[in-house]
């Protein structure tokens, strides 16, 4: 007999299930609004021009990184310093941080996630040995931020807990705090002595402006909050499968940063030894070559602008269809995803009657909308909601 007879079949991934069903559908009008990757106006993957310009690396650069990968260490304000290690895109960066907290943040075991959050946050922190809690975030009645609920909950989080914040383009809701709201949040987490962990997977991709999208992170740091930060270059550089990401810890000073860095290496070595070069090399070349960086900023704005335009067109098409509902949230939300407010039964009808695929929570990936199918989408949504 086998060692594995008792191993249960793992549950199918819900989002994967959406794509599988979409693939099987023969309707020519079908739409895949589950996909978490950018698509151009023809519904195709988009390789950024600046990415194409980065040719295969010089032959000599084949050395193993010393565990840290591409990283830098430089002072910020006052004596503070930070350490950045390359991570396996957003997931890998989050995981390194989670493992680091489990090992060295003895004061707290609880990680507070916004409700809802990216589905993979929970198992990542859990596998790292931490416990999950939540704070109110999304208000399904208004399809926007439940700010007073969030502030109430955050004010009650026990000191020295870990709080995870989405830096911009909240996944899955697309609902971000306004700057004034971020300021209040910063004051509260400071007062509550909470450890802030930012997940930034959409810098530049949300508003089209990398500085605007990083505003919250920078504001918190300016307020003296030593944050942890996980970054992904999957979306904003279209480097999905190359796994380009980074994990940063803001420390009191350079000496502490060196100690933290040494421990991060100890965590990484038994996980995968050192990170993959290709994606980081492309990202680094782009960021450090003035013409390429300029081109990147234009292209990432192009992606963000197309998404924003699809949101606008969807709403105007819904109005044209004669929908009497308030669809303002579709325009107010930001980033790749939109929490439409559609109920499970309505989602079911969209799938069955119109071959429009999305997850049961009514989340759509705006990246899957194009100028040729936005009319069809609006029509379908109107049919199931009128």
């Amino acid at each position: 007999s086998s060692w594995w007879s008792h191993v249960e079949m793992g549950p199918p991934d819900p989002i994967l299930g959406v794509t599988e069903a979409y693939k099987r559908d023969t309707n020519s009008k079908k739409m895949n609004l589950g996909v978490g990757a950018y698509r151009d106006d023809n519904g195709k993957p988009y390789v950024l021009g600046c990415v194409r310009k980065v040719r295969p690396g010089p032959a000599a650069r084949r050395r193993q990184g010393a565990g840290g990968g591409l990283r830098r260490l430089a002072p910020t304000q006052g004596s503070r310093a930070y350490v950045t290690v390359q991570g396996i895109s957003g997931t890998g960066s989050l995981r390194i941080g989670a493992n680091f907290l489990q090992r060295f943040f003895k004061a707290g075991r609880d990680v507070y996630l916004p409700k809802p959050s990216w589905g993979n946050h929970t198992p990542i922190f859990r596998d790292a040995g931490l416990q999950l809690q939540s704070y109110r975030y999304y208000d399904p009645n208004t399809c926007s931020l439940d700010f007073s609920g969030a502030m109430d909950d955050i004010a009650r989080i026990p000191e020295k807990s870990i709080i995870l914040l989405h830096a911009c383009a909240h996944n899955p809701t697309g609902v971000d705090p306004r700057q004034e709201q971020w300021k209040e949040m910063a004051a509260t987490v400071k007062k509550r002595n909470l450890l802030v962990y930012f997940d930034m997977a959409y810098q530049g991709f949300a508003s089209g402006d990398i500085d605007r999208d990083a505003w919250a992170v920078r504001y918190f740091i300016e307020q003296g909050i030593n944050v942890l930060l996980s970054q992904s270059y999957a979306k904003n550089m279209g480097l999905y499968g190359e796994r380009a990401g980074a994990f940063t810890v803001i420390c009191s000073d350079a000496e502490e940063a060196k100690r933290v860095e040494s421990q991060l290496k100890i965590l990484i070595r038994p996980m995968y030894s050192n990170p993959p070069l290709n994606g980081a090399r492309i990202a680094s070349t782009i960021l450090n070559t003035p013409e390429l960086r300029k081109e990147w900023l234009v292209e990432v704005k192009g992606m963000a602008d197309r998404i924003i335009s699809m949101r606008t067109q969807l709403v105007s098409n819904l109005k044209k269809e004669g929908s009497s509902h308030n669809w303002q949230h579709i325009i107010d939300q930001i980033g790749m995803f939109c929490f439409t407010g559609l109920k499970p039964e309505q989602v079911d009808r969209l799938i069955k009657e119109f071959s429009i695929y999305m997850t049961k929570d009514g989340r759509i990936s705006v990246a899957g909308v194009t100028s040729s199918n936005v009319g069809y989408l609006a029509h379908a949504i109107h049919q199931v909601t009128k």
Partner: protein, 412 residues
């Protein structure tokens, strides 16, 4: 401001092998030689991008139909199938019977880690962290950390290196297996044992397999040097394939870092061999969950290079040649070093230099002699006496041989 939450974080010791290279880089002595970290070097002492790799990289760069989309969680299908086929052989009964699975991983390390995490959750019960894990004495130092970080609480060593006779302590090894609790996990080096370069012979492997079968011990192979060790893929995979033919369920963590020279692209594969399709499918489904919280999906560049190469008869032949080039240079350096030591009359026996296989050689130098080599002669090697044969070149052979001679004669 409150004291930092990280004030108590201790400074971790550097990873020894990388520190060695860092020290080497800072050394200004013109005679310096780096015999530390395990990466191939040409006779000019340079890294070598395999010609077939360069060619395939260019093909990939010129192929406008390719993009950077996410790979599936378990990796690039063409890579997974070809990688496992390389390990198990074209005519593997396990492949024919459709009872193998593959997980594309971040290098050999990543494959080991996914396998370890899975075993800790699902092997020998559920979440049985008490299952003993046996690692050879000595072994690659990261093996220990992988299994500790995966949650295993009882990591043990099994006898392997006999320092006195400079060879395999087979009896000690077999005794340990006889004494090991049933269902213990054994990490086996498929070929080119790191750091000793000493492998069991086929007959010895047969004895090992017999004991493991009888005592229900789980074989977890680490195969980081297939092709690189002897120049022959089949020869270097003999042990893994033998175990499969004996009906074992096993894991094999494969690395393409050395045999493709793709060190920093992190190309690895965890091959799973099970009793039947159904078991393997369930195992893979659970491994998917582990992958999802570790790196979500693996990097595409290295896997594309390997898959493209292995799938094309022409490119595969070119690759095989490239691998043989590396293996042959190592073999040459071994015989050249040995003959110099013997000509110099260096005390001791030096046949182990040519009898050992792969990148590494356990010279037998003791820590004091090693210190002499590093400090006085600017020749960097591990405190264990391990040298990387790839660090030897026709230009530095004489200097290294003379230095070893000095170390052995001057320092006891």
């Amino acid at each position: 401001m409150a004291a930092s939450i990280f004030s108590a974080v201790p400074r971790a010791p550097p990873v020894a092998v990388f520190k060695l290279t860092a020290d080497f880089r800072e050394d200004g002595d013109s005679r310096k030689v780096n015999l530390g970290v395990g990466a191939y070097r040409t006779d000019e002492g340079k890294p070598w991008v395999l010609p077939v790799v360069k060619k395939v990289e260019q093909m990939i760069a010129n192929d406008n139909s390719l993009n950077h989309e996410y790979l599936p969680i378990l990796g690039l299908p063409e890579f997974r199938a070809n990688a496992s086929r390389i390990a198990l052989g074209d005519d593997s009964p396990a492949i024919k019977e459709n009872r193998i699975g593959s997980v594309q991983s971040l290098g050999g390390t990543g494959a080991l880690r996914i396998g370890a995490e899975f075993l800790r959750r699902w092997y020998n019960g559920n979440n049985n962290t008490a299952t003993p894990v046996y690692i050879s004495a000595p072994s690659w130092e990261n093996h220990n950390s992988v299994f500790v970080d995966a949650g295993f609480k009882d990591i043990r060593t099994y006898h392997y290196w006999d320092a006195a006779k400079r060879g395999l302590d087979l009896q000690g090894l077999l005794n340990d297996m006889e004494q090991a609790p049933e269902f213990s996990i054994f990490i086996l080096h498929a070929c080119a044992h790191n750091p000793t370069g000493t492998d069991p012979t086929p007959d010895q492997w047969k004895q090992i397999a017999a004991v493991m079968k009888r005592r229900f011990l789980f074989p977890f192979f680490d195969s980081a040097y297939q092709g690189f060790a002897s120049g022959s893929l089949d020869k270097d995979a003999w042990a893994v394939r033998y175990f499969v033919s004996e009906g074992f369920e096993l894991f094999c963590a494969q690395s393409f870092s050395k045999n493709f020279g793709l060190y920093n692209e992190r190309v690895g594969n965890l091959t799973v061999v099970g009793k039947d399709t159904d078991n393997v499918q369930r195992v893979l489904s659970q491994m998917e969950k582990i992958v999802r919280t570790t790196w979500s999906n693996p990097p595409s560049q290295g896997a594309r290079i390997v898959a493209t190469t292995l799938a094309s008869p022409q490119l595969f032949t070119e690759w095989y040649d490239n691998v043989k080039t590396m293996a042959d240079r190592v073999l040459l350096m071994r015989s050249e070093l040995r003959s110099r030591l013997e000509s110099l009359g260096t005390p001791g026996t030096w046949n182990h230099i040519t009898e050992q296989i792969g990148m590494f050689s356990f010279t037998g130098l003791n820590p004091k002699q090693v210190e002499y080599m590093v400090k006085e002669k600017h020749i960097y090697l591990m405190a264990s006496g391990r040298i990387n044969m790839c660090g030897l070149t026709t230009k530095n052979l004489d200097y290294v041989a003379k230095s070893i001679h000095e170390a052995v004669t001057k320092i006891q």
